[in-house]
C-alpha cells in the first residue's frame, strides 16, 4: 500500500505539466557535459601550478596589463554598445520608416558574421589607408592597431546583444502610460526619465552583461585590428594563445581561470544589480 506522502517533506511541488524529472535530468546532463566538464578540466589543468603559481601568473606585469586591456576595454565597449544599442532599439520599434525591416535585419549581422571576417573588414576600414582610417588620420587619430581598434571591434560584436535584449520591452511599453504622464503635466524629459526608461533598466543590464561577456571572450576579430603589442594592445585571449604556442598549458589555463573568475564576479554583480532593479522598478 502506498502511504500518502507528507507534502512538506516532498522535494518538489507537483506540477501540472508532466516530465519534470526527465527534463531536469536532461538539463543537468547537458549542462554538466557541455559547460561544467570543460570548465572543470580547465581548473584541473591550471591547478598543476597551485594557488601561488596562478597568483604569480596573475601578477606578472604582462598578464596583468593584458587583463586590464581586456576587461577595461570590454567594459567601455559594453557601455557604448548599451547606449547606442538602446537608441537603435528605440528607433527600430517606435518609428515606422521606409527600410525599417531591412535595418532591423542588419542589426543581427555581427551575430552571423565569422569574427575573422568582421576583423578583416574593420581593419581595412580603419587602417591608415582605409576609408574611415584615412579621415581619422587627418585629424591625428589612430584607430586601427591601437587599443581604440579593440574598442571598435568590441562595440561591433556587442551591439546586437544590446539591441535585441531591449527591443521587446520597448515594444511592450503602453503608449497610454506616456499619454497619462503627459496629461498629468510631466515634461517630455521627465516622462522619458521617470516613466519610460526605468522599466527598461533590467533589459539594458542584460544586454550590457552579454555585450561585456562577448567582448571579454572575443579573439577572432580583435587580433586583426588590435596591433597586439605587449603592454599596449595585447588582449588576454591572445596571451592564452601565446602561452599555448610556448607549450605552457598550465600557464594558459591559469590565465583562463583568472579570466573565468573575473567574469564570474562581474556577471554576478550585474545580476545582483538586475535583481535589485527588478524589485525597484517592477516589470519582467
Amino acid at each position: 500500500m502506498v502511504e500518502p506522502v507528507n507534502p512538506r517533506l516532498r522535494f518538489r511541488q507537483r506540477s501540472v505539466i508532466p516530465g519534470f524529472g526527465l527534463t531536469l535530468g536532461y538539463t543537468l546532463t547537458c549542462l554538466g557535459l557541455v559547460v561544467l566538464l570543460p570548465l572543470a578540466t580547465l581548473v584541473v589543468k591550471a591547478s598543476g601550478l597551485g594557488f601561488s603559481g596562478i597568483w604569480d601568473v596573475a601578477t606578472d606585469p604582462r598578464v596583468a596589463s593584458a587583463l586590464r586591456v581586456s576587461f577595461g576595454v570590454s567594459l567601455l565597449a559594453a557601455l557604448t554598445a548599451s547606449v547606442f544599442g538602446g537608441i537603435v532599439a528605440w528607433v527600430l520599434t517606435r518609428y515606422d520608416f521606409p527600410g525599417r525591416k531591412l535595418a532591423d535585419a542588419v542589426v543581427d549581422l555581427p551575430f552571423a558574421l565569422p569574427t575573422a571576417v568582421a576583423g578583416i573588414a574593420l581593419a581595412s576600414l580603419y587602417a591608415p589607408n582605409g576609408l574611415v582610417g584615412a579621415q581619422l588620420a587627418k585629424i591625428g587619430i589612430e584607430a586601427a592597431y591601437t587599443p581604440a581598434g579593440i574598442f571598435i571591434a568590441m562595440v561591433f560584436i556587442g551591439l546586437p546583444f544590446a539591441v535585441r535584449t531591449v527591443q521587446p520591452l520597448i515594444a511592450e511599453i503602453d503608449k497610454e502610460v506616456e499619454e497619462a504622464s503627459a496629461i498629468l503635466g510631466a515634461s517630455r524629459i521627465t516622462t522619458l526619465l521617470r516613466v519610460v526608461l526605468p522599466p527598461l533598466i533590467p533589459a539594458v543590464l542584460t544586454g550590457f552583461a552579454l555585450a561585456f561577456a562577448r567582448g571579454v571572450g572575443e579573439y577572432g576579430s580583435i587580433i586583426f585590428i588590435a596591433g597586439n603589442l605587449p603592454y599596449v594592445s595585447e588582449i588576454a585571449p591572445l596571451l592564452i594563445v601565446i602561452k599555448l604556442s610556448e607549450f605552457d598549458y598550465a600557464g594558459a589555463s591559469a590565465i583562463a581561470v583568472i579570466m573565468l573568475g573575473i567574469s564570474f564576479v562581474t556577471l554576478l554583480a550585474i545580476n545582483l544589480i538586475q535583481a535589485w532593479s527588478r524589485r525597484r522598478f517592477g516589470y519582467v
Binding site: P128, Y145, I223, G227, V241, L244, S245, G251
Partner: protein
C-alpha cells in the same frame, strides 16, 4: 582545419599520408605532393594521397602533440620539432640525424620587402633600427618566421659589434621599438604590410617576399637583399609513433626521401626556397636566389634548446625587451 582534413581520410582503400606543415608552404606542397603521388604510382602501382595541413609553425606542432595523426612534419624552425619530440615522444630526440643535411631538404633566409622605390632607403639590418622606420614583423612567440627575423637581427648586430651579446640585445630592442603591429603569423604580417599599407619594411621569408611580388604586383614593392642574413632552417621529420600506428611507414619514409630527389629539389627552387642540390634546379630559378653571406644561429648561440630558452621562452630576451620597451 587540420582535424577536418585528417578525419576525412582513413575509410578509403588507398593510402593517405598527412603532412603537417607551416604557413607559407601551401603552394609548394601542392606541387610536391602531386609529384610524389605520380612517382609512387609509377614505381609501386599504389595510389597514395598526400594531404597537407598548414598553419603557424608552433600551433601546428601543438596539434601533433595533441594527437593529429601526422605522418610527417615539415615545420618552420627546428625548435618546433624538438618540442614534439620532447613533449609527446612521437618523434625520437635524435631526429636531425635521420635524414640527410640535418633534416633540411631545402633552406631559406630572411630578406626585406619595401615599398616601390625604397623611399626610406633600407639597405641593411642597421636601417631597421633607425627611428623613422616602421618595421612589420610577426610575434616571435607565435610565428617561426617571426623567430627567424628576430634571430637574424640579433646575429647581424652580434657580428657587427665584435660578438658583444649586450650590444646585440640592445640592437634588437631598438628594432622592436619600431614595430607598430605584431601579427600572430607571417601571413598576417604580409597582409598588414601589403594590404593595409602599414610600415616601411617587412623582413620576411625569401619565398614569401617573392610571393608578395607575384600576388600584389611588382610595381608596388621591391625586394631588398641585405648583405648578410640568417641561414634559416625549416626542417622535416617522420612522426614515428603515428606511422607505426597507421601502417604508413613505408610511404611516409619514401615521401621524405622524395624531398631530396632532383625533381623535388627543382620544385623547391621554383617556389623560391633554396635547394640543397643546386645542380638539380633550373638556372633561371637559381638566379633569383642571390648570394648572401649567411650565418648559422647555432654557431652564435649554441644548441636549439638554448636558443629557444634564451630568446623566446617565458622570461626570455623577447619578454625582457618588451618589458623594457613599454
Amino acid at each position: 582545419m587540420a582535424t577536418c582534413l585528417a578525419s576525412t581520410g582513413g575509410a578509403h582503400a588507398q593510402t593517405e599520408i598527412l603532412n603537417v606543415s607551416y604557413d607559407p608552404t601551401r603552394e609548394l606542397y601542392r606541387e610536391i605532393n602531386a609529384a610524389f603521388a605520380e612517382e609512387w604510382k609509377a614505381k609501386t602501382g599504389e595510389t597514395v594521397t598526400v594531404r597537407a595541413a598548414h598553419g603557424g609553425s608552433g600551433a601546428q606542432a601543438r596539434t601533433v602533440i595533441d594527437g593529429i595523426p601526422a605522418d610527417v612534419v615539415t615545420l618552420g624552425i627546428p625548435s618546433d620539432i624538438d618540442a614534439i619530440a620532447k613533449l609527446s615522444k612521437k618523434i625520437p630526440g635524435d631526429w636531425r640525424t635521420k635524414l640527410p643535411n640535418e633534416g633540411l631538404p631545402y633552406t631559406s633566409t630572411v630578406v626585406f620587402l619595401v615599398r616601390k622605390g625604397n623611399p626610406k632607403a633600407v639597405k641593411d639590418w642597421d636601417d631597421l633600427a633607425k627611428p623613422d622606420v616602421k618595421v612589420i614583423t610577426p610575434n616571435p612567440k607565435t610565428s617561426a618566421g617571426g623567430r627567424w627575423n628576430f634571430l637574424a637581427a640579433w646575429g647581424y648586430a652580434y657580428e657587427r659589434d665584435g660578438k658583444d651579446k649586450e650590444k646585440a640585445n640592445a640592437f634588437v630592442g631598438q628594432l622592436y621599438k619600431n614595430v607598430p603591429v605584431l601579427d600572430t603569423g607571417a601571413r598576417g604580417s604580409t597582409v598588414t604590410f601589403a594590404q593595409r599599407g602599414l610600415g616601411d619594411v617587412l623582413p620576411t621569408w625569401e619565398n614569401e617576399a617573392f610571393l608578395v611580388l607575384e600576388e600584389f604586383g611588382k610595381d608596388k614593392f621591391d625586394i631588398v637583399v641585405p648583405p648578410t642574413s640568417i641561414y634559416a632552417e625549416p626542417p622535416v621529420a617522420l612522426v614515428d609513433a603515428n606511422v607505426d600506428k597507421k601502417g604508413t611507414r613505408k610511404q611516409a619514409e619514401a615521401y621524405l626521401q622524395f624531398l631530396y630527389s632532383d625533381r623535388a629539389q627543382a620544385i623547391f627552387a621554383k617556389h623560391h626556397y633554396r635547394p640543397i642540390k643546386r645542380e638539380a634546379a633550373k638556372p633561371e630559378d637559381l638566379a633569383q636566389l642571390p648570394e648572401i653571406k649567411l650565418f648559422k644561429i647555432e654557431d652564435l648561440q649554441g644548441s636549439w634548446d638554448d636558443i629557444q630558452k634564451a630568446n623566446f621562452d617565458n622570461g626570455g630576451l623577447f619578454d625582457q625587451l618588451s618589458r623594457a620597451g613599454r
